[in-house]
C-alpha cells in the first residue's frame, strides 16, 4: 500500500451523541484500497453506530465520511448505493417470499431506469436493459455458488445460503467498498471459516475494499489486513492484527468487558 493512495473509505473526526452519551468521539480511520479492514470493539463501543453513520442511516454531529475522495457526509443510504458503497445485513434483511434472483436484482435498482409505465408496457429498451442486468446478477450468484438456487424463494434456504444471497445482493450494487455487518453472527466455527474464505475470495476477485464490523475474533484475526479498535466511542488502537493483538489498550478493553 503506497502512502499516497487515496483511501477507499475515510472517516474523519466523527462525533455523535445520543442524549448526552457520546456514542462516537473523534473517530478517524481509513480503509486502504483493496484492504480488508475490521472495525472491532466490545459491546456498546460504537461499532454499529459508526457503521450506521457510514451507511447514512445516522447523521453524525460532526466529522466527515469520504468515499474514494468524494465527500459523502450526510448522504441518504439510497444515494450511497449509487456512489459505490455496498452493505450486507446482520439479520440478512432479505425478502423471504421473493426468489434469490429477485433479491439480487433489487441491487440493480439504482443502476437501471424505468418506472411503472415502461415496465408495465414492457418497453423494449427496458426489457433489454433488464436482461443485461439479469445476466450480471446471475454471474454474481454463480460467483458466490448459489446459481442453482436462482429461482428458489429465499425463505426456504439454509442460513449459510441466505448469507450468500445477502452478500451477492451487496455485490450486485457493484461497490468499491463493501461493508459487512457481523457476517459471522449466528454461525458455527465451520461456517465462520467458510465466510472468512468467501470474504478473501471476494476481495481478490473483485479488487474491492471491505470494511468488516465483527465480534468474532478468529474471523477478524484471520482475514483482516488492518484493524481499528473502538472503545467507548473512541479509537483505542489501529494497526495490523499482530499489532492490535498485543496492544495493552485493546487487551484492557476486552478484559474489562468480561468482568
Amino acid at each position: 500500500m503506497s502512502p499516497a493512495a487515496t483511501p477507499a473509505l475515510q472517516v474523519d473526526d466523527l462525533a455523535l451523541s445520543f442524549g448526552g452519551v457520546k456514542a462516537l468521539d473523534k473517530v478517524s480511520f481509513g480503509v486502504a484500497p483493496g484492504n480488508i479492514h475490521a472495525l472491532i470493539g466490545p459491546n456498546g463501543a460504537g461499532k454499529s453506530t459508526c457503521f450506521n453513520v457510514i451507511c447514512g442511516v445516522y447523521r453524525a454531529d460532526r466529522g466527515a465520511v469520504r468515499l474514494g475522495g468524494n465527500d459523502v457526509t450526510g448522504m441518504h443510504p439510497h444515494q450511497l448505493a449509487g456512489k459505490g458503497l455496498g452493505r450486507s445485513f446482520q439479520n440478512l434483511a432479505l425478502s423471504m417470499h421473493s426468489t434469490v434472483l429477485d433479491n439480487v436484482m433489487l441491487a440493480r435498482h439504482c443502476r437501471t431506469r424505468g418506472g411503472f409505465m415502461a415496465a408495465g408496457a414492457r418497453w423494449p429498451s427496458m426489457m433489454s436493459e433488464q436482461a443485461k442486468h439479469t445476466a450480471r446478477a446471475v454471474e454474481i450468484c454463480e460467483f458466490l455458488g448459489i446459481e442453482r438456487l436462482l429461482h428458489a424463494p429465499v425463505g426456504g434456504l439454509s442460513y449459510g445460503d441466505a448469507k450468500r444471497v445477502d452478500i451477492a445482493r451487496a455485490l450486485a450494487t457493484e461497490p468499491e467498498v463493501l461493508l459487512l455487518d457481523e457476517p459471522a453472527a449466528g454461525m458455527n466455527a465451520g461456517e465462520t471459516a467458510e465466510v472468512a474464505e468467501l470474504i478473501k475470495v471476494v476481495r481478490d476477485a473483485l479488487e474491492i475494499s471491505i470494511l468488516l464490523v465483527e465480534h468474532d475474533m478468529t474471523l477478524v484475526m484471520g482475514v483482516a489486513d488492518r484493524i481499528t479498535v473502538l472503545d467507548f466511542g473512541k479509537v483505542v488502537a489501529d494497526g495490523t492484527p499482530a499489532e492490535v493483538r498485543n496492544d495493552p489498550e485493546v487487551i484492557r478493553a476486552y478484559l474489562g468487558e468480561q468482568e
Binding site: H78, F89, A93, H97, T99, D102, A119, G120, Q130
Partner: protein, 395 residues
C-alpha cells in the same frame, strides 16, 4: 418476517429458459397458452350468448377487478394498507364527468373529447394520490390504514357540497358517453354487429371494460415482474435494506400510492359509465364510494391473494359478482325463505361469504386463491393426467 405474513408473490420473473424444446413440448408454456385461451373465451364470447342483465354483472366485476388490481399493488406488493380507494374512484368519476360533459346550468363541464376526459380522470386521481405523499410517505402500517379513512370522509363531504362538480346527492350528473375512435359506447352509434349479434349498449360496455381491464392487468403484471415491483416488495419487506440497496423509499411509497390511485380513478370512470350517472353518496357507510366498498376491495385482494393481479380479478368475481349472479339466478331478492325487511338478500349473503372467506384465508391459506391456484398447477403438472394433458409428446 413473522410466520403470518400474507403474500401471494408470484415466483417473479421465471426467465424463458424453457423455450428450448419448442412451444408444445414445454408443459409450462403450454399451460400458459391454455390459460390464455380460456381467458380469451371468457372475455370474448359472453356478449354473444348472454342476456344484458348477465353482461351487467360481468361489467361490474370488471370495475371491481380494475380497482382491486390497483389496491393489490399498493397493499399486497408495497405493504401499504389503504381504505381510500373509494375516494379516488369518486375523484376519477367526477373528473371524467367534469372534463367530458358540456357546460350546463349549475354544472361545470369542459366538453373535452371523452377519451381525453378518461385519461384526465386517471391522471387527476393519480395526482391527488401523489398529493397525499406527505402522509403516505411518512405514516406506516396500520396508522396509514386509518389515515386513508380520512379521505373517504373528505370525498363524501366534497361530493355533497361541491355540487357544481358532483351534481349533488339528489340528482347527480349523467355520465359522458365514451367515444372510442368514432364508436360510441352507451349508444348504438354507429350500429355494429359481431358474428350475427347486434352490438348494443351492454355488449359495447362489456368489450370496452374488458379492454380497460386487460390494459390495467398487463401493466400491473409487467410492473410487478420487473424493476418497480422489486422496489415495492423491498419497501414492504424491509425499508432499511431497500434503502441501502439504492431504493429511494419515500419516493417509491409515494409513487405506488399514486399508481394505485390512478387505477381507482379508472375504476371510478367505469363506475360512472356503468350507472350512466355520477352520484355522490349520502352517507359514509352505504353507497358507491363508501367505507363498505373500501372493505369490499380489501376483501377481494385478500381472498385472491395479496399482491396477486390474477387473484384481485378472482376476488372481484366473488365480491362484486356474487350478488348480481344470485339475484338473477334466484329471480328475486330473498334467500333461504326469508322475506321482507329482515330478508337475507344476495348482497347480505355475499357479505357473509366474503367475511367468512377473509377469516378462512387469514387463518388457513395466507396466499389466498393465488396460492391455491399455484398449488393446483403444480399438482396438475406432477400427476399422470397432468403430464399427459400438458405434454402431448409424453415423457
Amino acid at each position: 418476517m413473522s410466520e403470518g405474513t400474507l403474500t401471494a408473490d408470484p415466483p417473479a420473473e421465471t426467465p424463458s429458459h424453457g423455450r428450448r424444446g419448442g412451444l408444445l413440448s414445454n408443459p409450462a408454456t403450454l399451460f400458459r397458452w391454455g390459460v390464455r385461451l380460456v381467458i380469451a373465451l371468457i372475455v370474448l364470447t359472453p356478449p354473444l350468448y348472454f342476456e344484458p342483465s348477465w353482461l351487467r354483472v360481468g361489467q361490474y366485476v370488471m370495475i371491481g377487478a380494475v380497482a382491486a388490481i390497483g389496491l393489490t399493488l399498493l397493499t399486497g406488493q408495497a405493504g401499504q394498507l389503504s381504505l381510500a380507494h373509494p375516494f379516488f374512484m369518486f375523484v376519477g368519476g367526477a373528473t371524467y364527468c367534469v372534463l367530458g360533459s358540456e357546460d350546463a346550468p349549475g354544472k361545470v363541464g369542459f366538453g373535452l373529447p371523452s377519451l381525453v376526459a378518461l385519461i384526465g380522470a386517471i391522471l387527476v386521481a393519480a395526482a391527488l394520490g401523489l398529493a397525499f405523499a406527505p402522509v403516505s410517505g411518512r405514516v406506516r402500517g396500520v396508522y396509514l390504514g386509518v389515515a386513508t379513512l380520512a379521505l373517504v370522509y373528505v370525498g363524501l363531504y366534497l361530493g355533497q357540497q361541491w355540487t357544481s362538480l358532483s351534481g349533488g346527492t339528489a340528482s347527480g350528473r349523467p355520465s359522458p358517453d365514451l367515444n372510442l375512435f368514432g364508436i360510441k359506447t352507451l349508444r348504438n352509434d354507429p350500429e355494429i354487429s359481431f358474428l350475427g349479434q347486434a352490438m348494443e349498449r351492454e355488449q359495447r360496455v362489456w368489450y370496452l371494460f374488458a379492454l380497460l381491464l386487460l390494459i390495467a392487468a398487463l401493466l400491473a403484471w409487467g410492473a410487478v415482474r420487473s424493476r418497480p415491483g422489486r422496489a415495492w416488495r423491498a419497501v414492504r419487506d424491509n425499508e432499511s435494506a431497500a434503502s441501502a440497496l439504492g431504493v429511494n423509499v419515500p419516493r417509491v411509497r409515494a409513487e405506488v400510492f399514486a399508481i394505485s390511485s390512478g387505477y381507482a380513478g379508472l375504476a371510478g370512470v367505469m363506475t360512472v359509465m356503468w350507472y350512466r350517472l355520477l352520484k355522490p353518496d349520502e352517507s359514509e357507510f352505504a353507497g358507491t364510494y363508501s367505507i363498505v366498498v373500501a372493505i369490499a376491495f380489501l376483501a377481494m385482494i385478500l381472498i385472491g391473494g395479496l399482491g396477486s393481479v390474477g387473484g384481485a380479478i378472482a376476488g372481484s368475481v366473488l365480491v362484486f359478482g356474487l350478488p348480481g349472479m344470485l339475484t338473477i339466478m334466484i329471480g328475486g331478492n330473498e334467500l333461504f325463505g326469508t322475506s321482507g325487511a329482515n330478508a337475507i338478500t344476495p348482497a347480505i349473503f355475499t357479505s357473509f361469504v366474503y367475511g367468512a372467506a377473509i377469516i378462512i384465508v387469514v387463518l388457513f391459506e395466507p396466499g389466498g386463491l393465488a396460492a391455491l391456484g399455484r398449488r393446483l398447477k403444480a399438482t396438475a403438472a406432477r400427476t399422470q393426467l397432468g403430464s399427459t394433458l400438458l405434454s402431448p409428446k409424453g415423457s
